[in-house]
């Protein structure tokens, strides 16, 4: 009997121990479950508004060479790497024109900028900027050329056929402004830097009016689009962007009429008053990127193999064209483009305040041509955002 009682007591003790263990396990599970409960979702905050950069931030400007969104995305990868490497924030500032970049350099709003060959030459000559490095692109080469082109089905076969035609160009670029002016001048088609509006208004001479009229657009990609959208008869753009367009739009064929000498592609220039040590550190970071795994990744996203040293002497072809144009070039720079029209929102049909009364508004809408075809060419894939290998 005593033995049975002892067994019973032992069994009960073990049972209580098991129950206590189960209780502890359940409590622990409850605590873990409570800790892993999802927190109330927070409303997604929008992008933070612009915050003034810290004082020691390195500000680098970029030109609107191509689609502005893709352009900034390219240079942001570069900026992130440079920030990590230099130990200071690096901010990329995109502007809406090549003149704006020069203006920012002049106004010391940026310490440096990645510039096209023409504005780089101007920055060096006018502001004493210092050329640091230029990228070697994925397809090989660190230069580009200006090209004047027409659609393959265009009746224009040579430059002389462009008399009186509309040529899409890009102000303050070698490929879209200087080179076509130079070629037109050589072909006896001096455009005199006349804008489309002046030529259309008849304020210039007949000879000048017969010259090709520039249709100024914002990027080299826009030059190509305007040509194939039919709003320009020819275009003057960077060969790299034209080649990229041909790859992404094989259905569109291009006829090249003229090709310029090569010029450095998208080199980095720093203001002359930036301390040499900073410039040297930046140069070292750029020139050694390809040897760093993180730098190589950033270069891949940027669309380059490595950075190469660049000298001011490499812009000699650009200077040669400027010197060849002489005063015409100077005049073209002095003639600012017409002010941009404001983006007025007006409905195509407006309800009248009273029956029978004509609609009136403080600002009478100008005569609006019929809506142009889609900016994106018909039957074409969306424009590429990332640089093509």
């Amino acid at each position: 009997m005593t033995r049975a009682r002892e067994l019973e007591t032992t069994r009960m003790r073990n049972t209580w121990r098991a129950l206590v263990l189960v209780f502890v396990a359940l409590s622990a599970g409850a605590v873990v479950w409570a800790l892993r409960m999802p927190r109330p979702g927070r409303a997604a905050d929008g992008e933070p508004g612009p915050v003034p950069p810290p004082a020691h931030t390195l500000r680098l400007g970029i030109i609107p060479e191509r689609d502005i969104f893709a352009q900034r995305q390219r240079y942001r990868a570069l900026a992130d790497y440079l920030a990590a490497r230099l130990g200071r924030p690096v901010e990329i500032q995109a502007v809406n024109s090549y003149e704006a970049v020069l203006q920012d350099l002049r106004d010391r709003k940026v310490e440096g900028a990645f510039l096209g060959s023409l504005v780089a030459t101007m920055a060096v000559d006018q502001q004493g900027a210092r050329v640091v490095a230029k990228p070697e692109l994925l397809g090989g080469g660190s230069t580009y050329r200006g090209v004047i082109f027409v659609p393959d089905g265009s009746p224009v076969r040579k430059l002389e056929d462009l008399r009186g035609k509309r040529v899409a160009g890009l102000r303050l670029t070698m490929a879209g402004h200087l080179f076509p002016m130079y070629e037109f001048d050589r072909a006896g088609l001096s455009a005199e830097g006349a804008s489309t509006a002046e030529a259309a208004s008849g304020t210039v001479s007949a000879t000048a009016a017969g010259a090709p009229r520039f249709v100024w657009v914002g990027t080299h990609d826009d030059v190509v689009r305007e040509v194939f959208a039919g709003r320009a008869d020819a275009g003057a753009a960077k060969n790299l962007r034209l080649d990229d367009f041909e790859r992404t739009h094989p259905q569109y064929k291009v006829r090249r009429l003229a090709l310029s000498h090569p010029a450095p592609e998208g080199a980095l220039l720093m203001r002359g008053d930036v301390p040499a040590a900073e410039v040297d550190a930046l140069a070292a970071a750029l020139l050694g990127m390809h040897a760093d795994p993180e730098g190589a990744k950033a270069l891949q996203r940027f669309g380059a193999v490595r950075f190469l040293p660049c000298l001011a002497d490499e812009y000699r072809p650009v200077r040669a064209m400027i010197e060849a144009l002489g005063a015409a070039w100077t005049r073209s720079l002095e003639t600012p483009p017409r002010p941009r029209p404001t983006l007025t929102i007006y409905p195509l049909t407006r309800p009248t305040s009273a029956p029978g009364r004509a609609a009136s508004s403080p600002v009478a809408p100008p005569a609006v041509p019929p809506p142009a075809p889609e900016a994106v060419l018909p039957n074409s894939p969306p424009p590429s955002r990332a640089p093509q290998p």
């Binding site: 609107p64 502005i68 100024w216 990027t219 709003r231 029209p341 404001t342």
Partner: protein, 452 residues
């Protein structure tokens, strides 16, 4: 054993409560998850749609700023467009949009997704283009696309809102039923728990009641009371222990009575011998008194004889004690009430206090009593006549104690051997009296002195 029973009964109850609690928590957690889903998916999607519309307006403002020449930085515009594109992508990830309901949110989103890249291209061109005609063309296109986007965003937002609202309504209904169901289930479980606890209480209290009652019986000296508990647990053991105790007490009481009986027998034996001797002498004296000593001597002798008779009866009564009944004697002392002690009492305790002396009654052995307090059983009364007459009837057996019930079992060598043992010089009559038959001629036997 009792613990095991409790564990068997309460364990499943606790487990059931635990399971129900876990199930309730899981169900409520499911409701919270659904609510979180509605907040993060449905309402968030509607918020994204609203923000997208705001971003489109912001894009227009940024374009205005650029075209008016108030700024030439593109970063704010680029940031806004990228945020808007992110919102478009997030809208596409919403489960409401993914439902391919005809004419539902999915179609609007598909159009939105097709229109957005075109709109973005126009915005990109408008941000940089200086040419008036080109700008106007792109401006018209951008405005048209912005309108188209808004026309898709609005119904998309409404569809998302309606879906979220439906989901919320469904969740509220489910929550209502869930709460009701849980309440009913918990009520049922609580009722079951109460019934189980009552059963457990009965399982404990029932044997305790029995044991308490048995203890009271034991306290009342009813040692033959037994407890029966059939639960196969510690209460069974307690009941058995109690029964053992009662049995032991009962046996103890029986031994006490037996001992008392033995004492009485001893007294009976010893006193009877002495009384026989005295009786014999008295008979001799009575005979002599009858011959010439006169009446007073005879009277005294008669009284002595009566006293002896009483003593004999008392001693005889001691042998027939069935229980102990006490009565007050004097000065707080108690004595045995022989009459009641030899009576059979129905359901009475074998030992009790009969209280003080009753009127006219006296306890046995009361020296001042004229009447014996002994209620002798009828068999002990003399068949007739007084003691001396009985003695006379007995003839040559003056040593007989009339009125005493002969007990053949008590016969033995007590009379003659005792007389010889005490050294008396009494010459006893020849033949003893057969006491088994009162009134029987004592001399019919072998002429020996009847031995009480």
């Amino acid at each position: 054993m009792l613990r095991r029973k409790l564990l068997v009964i309460l364990g499943p109850l606790v487990a059931l409560l635990l399971v129900m609690a876990v199930a309730a928590i899981l169900l409520l957690q499911g409701v919270l998850s659904d609510l979180e889903h509605i907040n993060t998916q449905a309402w968030k999607a509607e918020e994204h749609a609203s923000q997208l519309s705001e971003h489109i307006g912001q894009i227009e403002v940024e374009l205005y700023e650029l075209q008016l020449g108030r700024q030439h930085r593109l970063d704010p515009l680029i940031d806004t467009v990228e945020s808007a594109r992110t919102l478009v992508n997030q809208l596409g990830e919403s489960y409401v949009v993914r439902n391919e309901s005809p004419g539902g949110a999915g179609n609007h989103y598909a159009r939105l997704r097709e229109t957005w890249p075109v709109f973005q291209t126009h915005v990109s061109t408008l941000a940089t283009v200086p040419d008036q005609a080109v700008a106007r063309a792109h401006s018209d296109a951008a405005l048209s696309l912005a309108l188209s986007l808004r026309q898709d965003i609005l119904p998309l937002s409404r569809a998302i809102h309606a879906h979220a609202h439906e989901e919320q309504e469904a969740l509220v209904r489910w929550m209502r039923w869930l709460v009701l169901g849980l309440a009913i289930v918990f009520l049922l479980v609580i009722n079951a728990a109460v019934l189980l606890l009552l059963r457990v209480g009965a399982m404990v209290l029932s044997p305790i009641d029995k044991l308490v009652k048995a203890s009271r019986e034991l306290a009342a000296e009813r040692f033959d009371y037994r407890v029966s508990v059939d639960q196969n647990d510690e209460f069974d053991e307690l009941a058995r222990a109690y029964n053992q105790l009662a049995g032991a007490l009962q046996a103890n009481e029986r031994r006490r009575l037996e001992t008392l009986g033995h004492v009485a027998t001893t007294l009976n034996h010893e006193l009877n011998n002495a009384m026989a001797m005295i009786e014999l002498q008295l008979q001799l004296l009575a005979r002599r008194a009858a011959e010439g000593l006169g009446e007073p001597m005879e009277k005294c002798l008669r009284r002595i004889h009566e006293g002896l008779e009483r003593m004999a009866k008392t001693v005889e009564a001691l042998k027939h004690i069935k229980r102990i009944v006490l009565t007050d004697y004097a000065q707080g002392m108690k004595m045995l009430d022989l009459r009641r002690s030899t009576e059979e009492e129905e359901g009475g305790a074998p030992c009790r206090d009969a209280g003080g002396p009753a009127g006219g009654e006296a306890g046995a052995g009361d020296l001042g009593a004229t009447e014996p307090a002994v209620g002798l059983p009828p068999g002990l009364l003399p068949p007739g006549g007084s003691a001396p007459e009985a003695a006379a009837d007995l003839g040559t057996s003056p040593g007989a104690v009339p009125g005493t019930k002969p007990d053949p079992a008590e016969d033995g060598p007590r009379g003659l051997p005792s007389a010889r043992e005490t050294g008396d010089s009494i010459v006893l009559p020849a033949a003893p009296v057969d006491r088994a038959a009162p009134g029987q001629d004592a001399r019919s036997a072998e002429g020996r002195v009847p031995v009480p």
